[in-house]
Symmetry: C2
Subunit: 237 residues, 2 copies
Amino acid sequence: MPTVHIMNAYDQELKFLASRIASMGGLAERMVDESVKALVHHDPALARKVIADDVLLDEGQREIDDKAIVIIARRQPMADDLREIIGAIRISSDLERVGDLGKNIAKRVLSILETPQPVRLSRGLEALAQLALVQLKEVLDCYATSSVERIGTVRDRDDDIDAMYTSLFRELLTYMMEDPRNIAACTHLLFCAKNIERIGDHATNIAETVHYIITGVQMPLDRPKEDKSHRVVLSGE
Amino acid sequence: MPTVHIMNAYDQELKFLASRIASMGGLAERMVDESVKALVHHDPALARKVIADDVLLDEGQREIDDKAIVIIARRQPMADDLREIIGAIRISSDLERVGDLGKNIAKRVLSILETPQPVRLSRGLEALAQLALVQLKEVLDCYATSSVERIGTVRDRDDDIDAMYTSLFRELLTYMMEDPRNIAACTHLLFCAKNIERIGDHATNIAETVHYIITGVQMPLDRPKEDKSHRVVLSGE
């Protein structure tokens, strides 16, 4: 009987990590979504809310880190559980970074709203964010349901985000060249777009971690986490 | 006697992690240094070398991850050693990201070299990179020597990098406004500068991890890892 009791407490500890990851994931998604909504709807109050929320993710990450180490030290888990615990540490670190990126978008939104900006561009950013958020949602869903089947597809779809980002990058450069008054706002939009592209990279990292937790094997290194915007050369045409 | 033998093997495993981190750190520093040298000296071959080197850091990170999990599962370490092992996982992840950032700079250098660019700007980038590299070197030194005394100073000095980055950001925007032909190259330089600023953030992360390894306590959350460039509003003046 005591053994069963201990097992249950241990299971509960593991479940705590998973549910904390789920709540961090939900918050990170909301922050990114709201930061882009703040841009599209010219809503500085919403941007400020996103900036304030970020501390919750920092706390979440630290809580998971501390808890994970206590669980390992106390329970001395075997390989499967160990992968799950180390995986939780990794995923929470990715989610904390996603929150940072959302916060950075929100901060830039406050600057962008002080200058005129082409509406079409914030729409482009919104579409890019939707892609990244679907990606993040699916990968967190794979984590919550321990399903490895869709992981490869999710990871491969990061290419779509990269392609849309590179095209937005080109469009923003063109606007800057057309009218120097667009330069400051478009530069912030460029960085917002880059942040969203990086959120896609973090979703990819999480996909790889989930794959590792479930299968015990690292995914092959063939997926380069890189957009193609570094190739853009326009030299003022 | 067997106990002593086992202890030694275990110590050797821990030492392996530390020495692998040291070699990853050396490589990451070199990649960043060489990527900026490639820019300053117009050296596409050096940029391509940096791009090729990145896979070595990816392999290093995976090796440390795998090894760390094997050590935890086999040795069931107590809290101190556990922090060291989890710390190695975290630091190697930061170093892998530093390598990615160096590779991204190198890729942008290949595009930048195709267009004319103001020399002064690449010098500014070089100075920024030197600050970030000193930061990274010192924090890796703290890790190698387990010395916690300088950690706070190292972390605080990240402010200098942020300030220099923000000033470079402004300067680059001004160049873009002066002459639209500078826009594409300057945008790549902006992202290079941002990458270097992020390398400083990773050095800060590593400082926090080293502090945690040595003291068992997380550093206070009061250090915002943010530059101030998001506040720059120039609207074409």
